[in-house]
């Protein structure tokens, strides 16, 4: 009970920090970085609700990002929307992402492992090519420029920030709900042994497709937001193959299949990327250092920060408890509260 209270307190504090952040750090350069970070918090969380829980590594989620961006762009320009009106399109972008995810998932989820990874890449490139070639719709290579928005310069970023915050919080909340639900249990069973799960009555295709569709929604929404904030969508930045690599990296760094892992991963990687990539003086050495850093982190923390930390803490606690009360206490505790604890470790 104390635990859940603390957990609630922690989440509430984080949320409060998120809400007051742009009021404290008013510099547009900082809030701009924060917006892209929140965009990746949402995307990494959403990606994780499918790939992290089910074990199917998707490198095709940029399809939803790009489609959300193009939908928002095309609708905004066609309907002549301006200012805050555009934000109302974001749920529509999410819906379109979900609709695209259905046939995408029905095709891709028939295969597993490597083949799944590559087929998501293949479908991704088909979408990118459509963005290049359907010029009348997408503007071809030059893409779609967003209209100039006349928000006040000093607080220009704030509406974008809060929109990103809402999507990110919703994505994390959905991820959390799924993690503790029957649906999440089914997904993780698929990740461990899909055929066995079928043999225990899990309708695997339905479950996988459901997760795929759910995970597409926030990604498409932040795609739309990203178009509006950046001011441009073009085929190579909208359907960016490195988007999925970045998102996967965030989820892995924090802890694949955990709720907090992708959030933490995005909070670390995106600001670091924003900052370091810009550094011209470091030249190309930066690129090498950036790659090398990831190699080290992946090799030192192969399961990600959160599971590794939880494991270390668990070990430490076990040791301490053994010192205190011996094995009996440990077993008692395990029988009662253990399901919850082990879930944290998983």
């Amino acid at each position: 009970m104390i635990a859940s209270g603390l957990r609630f307190g922690g989440v509430a504090a984080l949320l409060a920090l998120g809400i007051v952040f742009p009021l404290v750090f008013t510099n547009p350069a900082v809030t701009s970085d924060a917006i892209y970070t929140l965009i990746f918090v949402a995307a990494a969380s959403a990606w994780n609700t499918f790939s992290g829980y089910s074990g199917y590594i998707s490198l095709g989620h940029a399809v939803f990002f790009g489609s959300g961006a193009y939908l928002t762009g095309i609708a905004t320009l066609d309907w002549g929307l301006t200012g805050s009106q555009v934000f109302l399109l974001l749920p529509l972008a999410g819906l379109v992402g979900a609709i695209i995810a259905v046939p995408f998932g029905l095709i891709a989820l028939r295969v597993r492992r490597h083949t799944f990874v590559v087929i998501t890449i293949a479908i991704f490139f088909i979408f990118q090519l459509m963005a290049y070639n359907l010029q009348s719709l997408t503007g071809g290579t030059s893409g779609l420029l967003a209209p100039t928005v006349n928000f006040a310069a000093a607080t220009y970023n704030n509406p974008f920030y809060y929109a990103a915050l809402v999507i990110a919080v919703a994505a994390v909340a959905v991820s959390w709900l799924i993690r503790r639900s029957r649906f999440g249990l089914q997904l993780r069973a698929i990740r461990d042994d899909e055929d066995r799960a079928r043999g225990l009555g899990v309708r695997t295709m339905r479950v996988k497709l459901g997760a795929f569709v759910i995970s597409a929604v926030p990604v498409a929404m932040v795609g739309g937001l990203s178009w509006y904030f950046t001011g441009l969508i073009d085929p190579s930045s909208g359907f960016d193959p490195l988007f999925d690599v970045a998102v996967a990296l965030m989820a892995f760094l924090g802890g694949l299949g955990t709720v907090a892992g992708p959030v933490l991963g995005a909070l670390i990687i995106e600001p670091a990327q924003q900052y370091f990539q810009g550094q011209v003086s470091a030249g190309y050495l930066f690129l090498m250092l950036y790659g090398a850093l990831f190699l080290v982190v992946i090799l030192v923390l192969p399961r990600g920060v959160i599971p590794t930390a939880a494991e270390q803490i668990g070990k430490w606690r076990d040791k301490r408890r053994e010192g205190d009360g011996g094995l009996a206490g440990h077993r008692l505790a395990a029988a009662g509260a253990a399901p919850d604890r082990a879930k944290e470790l998983a």
Partner: protein, 414 residues
Amino acid sequence: MTLHRTRFLSVGITAAVLSAALAACSSSSSPTGGSHAKSPVVIGASLSLTGDFSADGQAFERGYELWAKDQNAAGGLLGHKIVLKFLNDASSPTQAVANYQQLINVDHVTFTIGPFSSLLTGPSAQVAHRYGYALIEGAGGAPSVFATKLNNVFDVSLPVAASTLPLINWIASLPASKRPKTAAFPTSNDPFTQPQIQFAMARLTKLGVKAVYYKVFPEEPTQIKGIADQVAAKRADMVVLGSTAVPTVQGFTQAFIQAGYNPKIFLATAGPDQGAAYLKAVGHLNNDGVMVPNAWYGGSPNPQSKKMVAEYIAQYGGTASGVNADVAEAYSVGQVLTQAVNATRSLSNAKIIAYLHSAVTLSSVQGPVRFDSVGENLAATAFVFQWQKNNFLQVLPPGAGSAAVEYPKAPWGK
């Protein structure tokens, strides 16, 4: 259960550290703008030092640095030393937008100058506009950049659609018997090249040159050889290639040579203007006779240009023909900024924007500069250049300082 607390504590700490780091970033930059009398003027740009535009980004960096060095030697801007601040955008518009936010709000630069390519210039101009900055740029000439009608964008380079006009006029001047009879028009699906190629095709068809091939290919084609072989099979007298970069030109060149096809005229819209980078890719034997339209070349008789080229060679080596036209585009940006600052006697963006809109004619290494209401350079002149025996020469329009057109182009491998 302490586990939960620790777990969220770690998240909390990280977030706190991150926000502290961000705060440090934002506060560490003391105002560098021109509040003190002789403090430096910081000028910022986002450049593509990695990614698709990295070759152009590097050339731009050199052009900007050459200008700053020259101008500092001449006393800087109104006596303030020029300090350049570059951020890398890895050819991504998202990063470019973030970079201009950073330059304006964290580094507090006095002026912003443009990135490479229209793709990045469009959204970057909006950021600059939001904070009242002028964005003088040399490589953002696509219609989409001007369509938003922002008042702060100024492109010092040549508007491109009619760039092949000197060649078309020259063909028109030939006696009918000597004109090419057929032409092939392969083009990449780039917002620049497609209009150029369509313009050339329409005009040449009027002159009686038959278009035997027109197809659009992707900007980064994977099997250039296949497309080039289809073109070669037409055996057209001339090829007008809508290319955006060196690899495409190299691919067509190699396939033409392999197919034993040597058109009388071979013009590529971009690539051959990249100096040494182009020569390295196609080889020293395979450039003779290849044409490219542009506003500038290393051998330009323009005295400002001669000076810049001499300095460039002193610093980076090579020959005049090896200087990338991007260098001149970037250098011109600096020159236009210098003239605007000197004319207004001020470091105010608002005054500079007003001045550049006042239809004054300025000079640059690329020639005269005069802006219309959306910031296009109306005074730029189009030239056509030709590689002749590893030398990059201006051949069209004919006149003082122009070399004779090599027509028909010499065989490959000579």
